[in-house]
């Protein structure tokens, strides 16, 4: 017993074997020049990006007399939600004066079906390309990827003609189809790469078990792919919600999405510029992508954790 080495935490025979001098974790000073540099730079960058948001929020909560004083950084003396209500319900956009609410619901009616359709089709595309290797798969994939690199502007006029011939020009359906098609290359690539990264043997095992194309897709692949579906959803919702060009080109004023209406409110030439209403309208329009980021960001992390069942 006498020559056993005392283990850490065991007060073996009382005496410690540690010599005097450095031991344990190396101390680091809180205010070293290194820390000041790092935190200073980070705080500066954060402030740089947060400042405009701050200005927008305080301005949207002020009345017009207070704004005319010109202190854009000062907090509101008297908080008012009037501009928010006006932006949502009564601001005028050219023809009608029912605020952004109409655009909001248009955007919802555009974004939800476009997102669902594009993700549904692209995920099946990606699955077929990754796992079934049908004849001509490579050619199909190449064409799709080339499609991703063609500038949108080149295609606008042909699409207008196609939609007109189909009798869909100016309708929500037409715009939904356009969004679905334009999401296809990048989403297919995304899904194909994700499905390719899943172990091929899982797919083989399912085939031995007698599962066919759709059974494997719904019972095996889908449940393992929550993270990539969340990623695709974020991409599509924010992309389609923020779209301006397609919205203004392919729809009529009564179907304009929120972004187009926002532009019309902010740029309306009649009367005084109501900065507080414009700020509120802008924040309202940007709120949806923001909420999507915040909500699904957490879902996303959880999805990755849940999906990380390695072989």
């Amino acid at each position: 017993m006498a020559d056993t080495i005392p283990l850490k935490g065991q007060a073996a025979h009382g005496a410690s074997r540690l010599a005097p001098g450095p031991q344990g974790r190396k101390p680091r000073p809180m205010f070293s020049s290194r820390n000041i540099m790092i935190y200073g730079a980070l705080i500066f960058a954060a402030a740089y990006y947060l400042l405009p948001l701050y200005v927008m929020i305080v301005t949207s909560l002020k009345g017009m007399p207070e704004i005319r004083l010109g202190n854009i950084f000062s907090p509101p003396v008297e908080i008012t939600f009037e501009p928010w209500v006006k932006a949502w319900a009564t601001a005028c956009t050219g023809l009608n004066c029912d605020g952004l609410s109409r655009g909001f619901w248009n955007s919802v009616r555009i974004t939800i079906p476009s997102t669902i359709m594009s993700i549904a089709i692209a995920s099946i595309n990606g699955y077929a390309l990754a796992n079934w290797r049908f004849k001509g798969a490579d050619l199909f994939f190449t064409i799709l990827i080339v499609g991703a690199f063609i500038p949108y502007q080149v295609m606008i006029y042909p699409i207008v003609i196609v939609l007109r011939e189909m009798g869909l020009y100016g309708s929500l359906t037409g715009l939904i189809i356009v969004h679905t098609i334009f999401g296809m290359p990048i989403l297919t690539l995304l899904f194909r790469n994700y499905f390719s990264s899943l172990p091929e043997e899982l797919f083989k095992a399912a085939r031995i078990d007698g599962a066919g194309f759709w059974t494997i897709y719904f019972k095996i692949m889908l449940p393992m792919s929550l993270p990539i579906f969340v990623v695709a959803m974020i991409l599509q919702i924010t992309g389609i919600w923020n779209d301006f060009l397609f919205g203004v080109v392919f729809t009529r004023p009564e179907y304009y999405p929120m972004t187009v209406q926002l532009n019309n409110i902010v740029n309306s030439v009649q009367g005084v510029k109501e900065y507080n209403v414009n700020m509120a309208a802008t924040i309202l329009t940007g709120a949806v992508p923001l909420i999507v980021y915040f909500v699904s960001g957490r879902l996303f992390v959880r999805g990755i954790a849940a999906g990380a069942v390695k072989g």
């Binding site: 043997e201 095992a205 007698g210 599962a211 095996i220 069942v309 072989g311």
Partner: protein, 363 residues
């Protein structure tokens, strides 16, 4: 013909311009445990996937139980398959993993329960049925994967390196279990591995493959003791067989192989044909077929020097300098020799292998 379980006839498979299998033929008997053994990339998995129906063959036919299944879907071939990475469905419990195929086939619930219970009992995984694969150890996962093949009630089991992801101890445990499973079920098993120990311990017959070609198909003892060519001889056995390049010489009517001026008499060697004088050959002797300090009757005794000693417990492995090269010798673990010791060795030529230096085939 009736006794053949799986028959591969003139099978060819190419990926684009790359031919992986070229007119391969293989007949596997009912109830046989056949091991496909070969280095990584030689086409073992490809052959197994063709038999399973996971790959379309480029040419040739595959028969299972006398039925031409060349164009059949995997599920209709009467096979079950176990993969290296277990390939368990991560979102399903063990029970649902086992029953997935049966549910897809729309079997009655009572029948499904019965089969799952039986498989779970055979593999002793009853306590795991409600768990997810992520909550299992590697050994348990592979047991479940075997169970998934078991519930299918098939004639032929296909294993693709099922133990390669496990650590050494689990590997030998599960190896025994697979052997026991085969003994109790008695169905045909085709087992792919690059591990010669697995091949030697499990197989009724081993097919040694190289570059998509079966080099030798025989029972393990034949493969080990009478390798058909230089590749098989060198691939099987650890440490590897000792090879000596030499030439057949006539010493007054006595045939010997001369290696760097040292003679090895060939009287005891079971040659297949005449040994022409002057023929260039490769003499192969396994480490355990060299006697140290005891002579083989009728065989030359040579001098050698101990270079390195590797005691391995039951055995003792000596690396010797002899006939101008290094060779290994396996002796009983209790017999120890310090490096530098001079000793006498003698080859057991009845267990040696001689190959033609040009064709590399056994002579």
């Amino acid at each position: 013909m009736n006794n053949v379980s799986v028959s591969v006839r003139d099978l060819s498979l190419s990926f684009g311009a790359v031919t992986v299998l070229d007119t391969l033929n293989l007949d596997i008997q009912n109830g046989e445990f056949l091991v496909l053994l070969g280095a990584s990339g030689c086409g073992k998995s490809t052959l197994l996937n063709c038999i399973a129906g996971l790959l379309d063959v480029t040419d040739g036919q595959i028969f299972i139980k006398d039925r031409n299944v060349t164009w059949e879907e995997p599920k209709d071939r009467g096979i079950g398959m176990v993969f290296q990475s277990y390939a368990l469905y991560p979102q399903m419990t063990v029970e649902r993993n086992l029953s997935f195929g049966l549910r897809v086939a729309k079997l009655p619930a009572a029948e499904i329960d019965k089969r799952v219970a039986r498989a779970a009992e055979i593999l002793q995984i009853q306590p795991l049925l409600k768990r997810k694969p992520s909550e299992l150890s590697g050994g348990q996962r592979q047991r479940v994967a075997i169970g998934r093949a078991l519930v299918r009630d098939v004639d032929v089991f296909l294993f693709d390196e099922p133990l390669s992801n496990l650590d050494a101890k689990l590997r030998s445990e599960l190896r025994v279990e697979i052997k026991r499973l085969h003994q109790s079920l008695n169905n045909t098993m085709i087992y792919v591995t690059h591990d010669q120990i697995e091949a030697l311990t499990l197989a009724d017959r081993i097919a040694v493959m190289k570059s998509g070609v079966i080099q030798q198909l025989a029972d393990p003892m034949t493969i080990y003791n009478f390798p058909e060519n230089l590749f098989v001889a060198g691939f099987i056995g650890s440490p590897s067989m000792n090879f000596f390049r030499g030439e057949i010489k006539d010493r007054g009517g006595r045939k010997v192989i001369e290696v760097n001026g040292v003679d090895f008499g060939m009287e005891a060697y079971p040659a297949r044909g005449p040994l022409e004088t002057g023929r260039k050959v490769v003499l192969g002797v396994r480490p355990e077929h060299v006697k140290v300090d005891e002579n083989v009757p009728g065989q030359e005794v040579h001098d050698a020097i101990v270079d390195i000693e590797e005691p391995m417990g039951a055995d003792n492995l000596l690396w010797l300098k002899h006939a101008g090269q290094t060779m290994s010798v396996r002796i009983a673990g209790a017999r120890r020799y310090a490096p530098g010791t001079a000793l006498k060795i003698s080859f057991d030529m009845s267990m040696a292998s001689v190959f033609d230096a040009a064709t590399e085939n056994r002579i």
